[in-house]
């Protein structure tokens, strides 16, 4: 059984752990893994992120599953969050796109603009 104090400790510790910006956790990658995400192929995308990071010996980035963010038509959705809380939302992800995001964004800090939600919205608007 946890006491109230222990609960408070877990809260602080986990917040510290999941907040990007520490040495062991530079970025947090969230993969939408609700029914909509999984149906659209989120599982192989998540695995691709894990594989690509491993291949490159990158251990200061965490990959985590999360629930539905609401824009189900754009799944699989992946968000990359940095230490300032800045979020980059990648939509309609594939394994190939995941590999490119790892090299360009995660390693080299260059956002893959053409995979972002803004770009997808722009394309839809253009028809």
């Amino acid at each position: 059984m946890k006491t109230i104090t222990e609960l408070e400790e877990i809260r602080k510790r986990t917040l510290e752990k999941i907040k990007p910006g520490t040495n062991s956790n530079r970025l947090r990658i969230l993969v939408g893994m609700a029914t909509c995400g999984i149906a659209a192929g989120a599982r192989p995308v998540m695995n691709a992120f894990i594989e690509e990071l491993k291949k490159r010996n990158i251990s200061d980035v965490t990959v985590t599953m999360t629930g539905c963010i609401g824009a189900c038509r754009l799944e699989p959705i992946v968000e990359v969050i940095d230490s300032d809380g800045r979020r980059v939302t990648y939509v309609k992800m594939t394994e190939e796109k995941a590999a490119r995001v790892v090299v360009e964004h995660i390693v080299n800090g260059r956002v893959c603009v053409d995979y972002t939600i803004g770009e997808a919205e722009r394309k839809t608007a253009e028809g």
Partner: protein
């Protein structure tokens, strides 16, 4: 062959050479020797990377880190930091490509800007399978507060003052419901969560359970404390395997942490929770049928009163709340009743989650403050109707609800206004329809659903809805008779007045509300045998315009039933007896010579 653990690729293209890559390479060789890395790291001269303007370019593998504008003075840092200690030198990374004005994150696109996420606060933010992440975002803090600082009466008072009303459909004030159950003198009471979500096209509750299961668990424990119950059940449909799995994991973790079970957080309060899987019958979302099903019987409703708060599961006082209702509770406790009551409208407080589908650009899940207008939801958040089509109506409340026509698009969405319009809030299904939708066909669709889902216990629902469906099928089939519309109205009135449960009582709603706003469409079907939207196949035909037909024969080639004939230079013709009205010819005609005749 020697195996290197890392490779340093240095560009030897013309551009980089002219910006000094030769010297950089030499410096790397020296620095590697100095730090005894020459047998672990290999230097490779490569061709152009194409980033000549930012040369010299150096790429380090296995990471693939690309350093640009590397000066000789930078090399030692790359060697000691990156190659020796495994820490990339961020300041030299290629970095910041100009994003222009492309919006990069979800929280900045229109779809999100008008939303306010309370029930969905953690969905898409935390890992639902990790209780620690829920705790990190203030999870189980409300439970701690309730168990250590509040009496059950204070909890109920807070929920009452917050103005929270049930999100499962009927909109009954949650605090009142809890108070009724709390007043019952009984050793055994139960807390139930309705996660049946049978409304076709709705997935709000599934998303909460998949994305934030602990919020529901925490709220149920709080409810247990408030009414004096020590056992809870979550009734979830078996068709939601991911939700079921995440709930199982969450319950397991909560038990491990002592947040479920005896002596919760050392306060002496005990509460346990079990899952019950439903087989996916719509009627089992109705509260009395749901409880009958939990008891292990066939899911059929029973008359009320007695209400569940007095006599529920196994005859004991029971509260039943919807998933989204529960998901609001922890925040209400933490932020206070006034905070919640400050959101929304006079009689509808807080937010509502909608699953928006149909003819809308941004299908998906959204949460908005009560009182947001339908226009804002459809155009600002939903991004409007695809193909520039006109908005015709929106269906809320699913098979128990009704439609809101375009003329009422500026109506604020709240419980009472929707009822006034002949619809209802429902659980949050929102189906958007454009000008190509036939409202009679929509009514037929929903009635077809309720006929299928009627449990058969009471005759008005079992027989009455079937008769209504037959009439609707006749009308949409082009065989409508004089007096059919009036018959529908009489049946609807009687079923509403006499059905046993709300399934039957609300089944005629889609018919009544479409009749209210689109009676002319019904009349066109019955009197003129015409479907104005061109949906009902029996009343429309595909016709080839002889003037624009170029006799290319593409339509005939693509017709799956060989109903089109013709020859060179003579316009083609469709044999209406053979035509199955699939529309393929119209789609394929390169000259737009085929049209629907309604």
């Amino acid at each position: 062959m020697q195996i290197y653990r890392a490779h340093v690729l240095i560009c030897g293209g013309t551009g980089c050479t002219s910006s000094g890559s030769e010297n950089v390479k030499k410096e790397f060789e020296e620095q590697l020797k100095k730090h005894h890395l020459e047998n672990e790291v290999q230097i490779v001269g490569t061709g152009c990377f194409g980033l000549c303007a930012r040369g010299p370019v150096v790429v380090v593998y296995p990471e693939g880190a690309m350093y640009t504008m590397v000066r000789v003075e930078d090399v030692e840092e790359i060697v000691t930091e990156h190659l020796l200690k495994g820490r990339m030198v961020r300041r030299l990374l290629a970095g910041g490509q100009e994003a222009g004005d492309v919006t990069q994150s979800l929280d900045k696109v229109d779809f999100f800007k008008k939303q306010l996420r309370i029930a969905l606060r953690n969905c898409g933010i935390i890992n639902p399978e990790d209780i620690d992440e829920y705790i990190a975002f203030d999870g189980y803090k409300a439970l701690t507060k309730v168990l250590t600082e509040m009496t059950p009466e204070q909890v109920i008072d807070t929920v009452k003052r917050s103005g929270l009303r049930g999100r499962g459909g009927a909109g009954f004030p949650t605090g009142l419901k809890w108070e009724f159950a709390a007043r019952q003198q009984n050793e055994t009471k139960y807390v139930c969560c309705n996660a049946d979500e049978g409304d076709p096209g709705a997935f709000m509750d599934r998303s909460v359970l998949e994305g934030d299961p602990h919020s529901v668990i925490e709220a149920m424990i709080i409810a247990g404390y408030a009414i004096g119950a020590h056992q809870g059940f979550i009734y979830v449909r078996a068709e939601y395997p991911i939700a079921v799995k995440r709930l199982e994991i969450a319950i397991g973790q909560a038990k491990e942490y002592g947040l479920l079970g005896k002596n919760i957080l050392g306060t002496g309060f005990a509460f346990d929770l079990e899952l019950r899987l439903g087989a996916g019958a719509f009627v089992c979302g109705e509260e009395t049928a749901l409880m009958t099903s939990i008891e292990g019987h066939r899911g059929e409703p029973r008359p009320r009163p007695p209400f569940p708060a007095v006599k529920g599961l196994w005859g004991k006082p029971t509260i039943l709340n919807n998933v989204e209702t529960f998901a609001n509770i922890p925040r209400i406790i933490l932020n206070g009743a006034e905070w919640f009551a400050g959101i929304g409208t006079e009689r509808s407080k807080g937010t509502k989650v909608f699953a928006m589908g149909g003819k809308i650009n941004n299908t998906g899940l959204l949460e908005v403050p009560m009182g947001t207008t339908l226009r804002e939801v459809i155009y600002d958040i939903g991004g409007g109707i695809p193909g520039g089509k006109k908005f015709k109506a929106a269906q809320t409340g699913g098979p128990s609800g009704g439609c809101i026509p375009a003329s009422h698009i500026d109506t604020p969405i709240e419980y009472d206004t929707l009822v006034q319009l002949g619809s209802m809030m429902g659980s949050g299904g929102l189906i958007v329809m454009d000008e190509d939708t036939c409202m009679v066909d929509i009514a037929r669709y929903f009635l077809d659903f309720t006929v299928d889902e009627s449990c058969g216990k009471c005759p008005p629902c079992r027989i009455g809805t079937k008769r209504m469906l037959e009439i609707l099928e006749r009308i949409t089939g082009g065989k409508g008779e004089e007096g059919d519309i009036e018959k529908l109205e009489t049946l609807a009135k009687n079923i509403k007045a006499s059905a046993l449960c709300a399934l039957g009582q609300s089944a005629p709603n889609p018919v009544l509300s479409t009749l209210r706003y689109f009676r002319d469409e019904y009349e066109a079907h019955v009197k003129e045998k015409r479907c104005p939207a061109g949906v009902c196949k029996a009343m429309m035909k595909y016709v080839i315009n002889a003037d624009s037909c170029k006799s290319c024969g593409i339509c005939a080639k693509n017709c799956p039933v060989g109903a089109i004939e013709g020859e060179k230079k003579v316009p083609y013709r469709i044999d209406q007896d053979k035509c199955i009205k699939c529309g393929t010819c119209m789609e394929k005609c390169p000259f737009k010579a085929i049209f629907k005749n309604v």
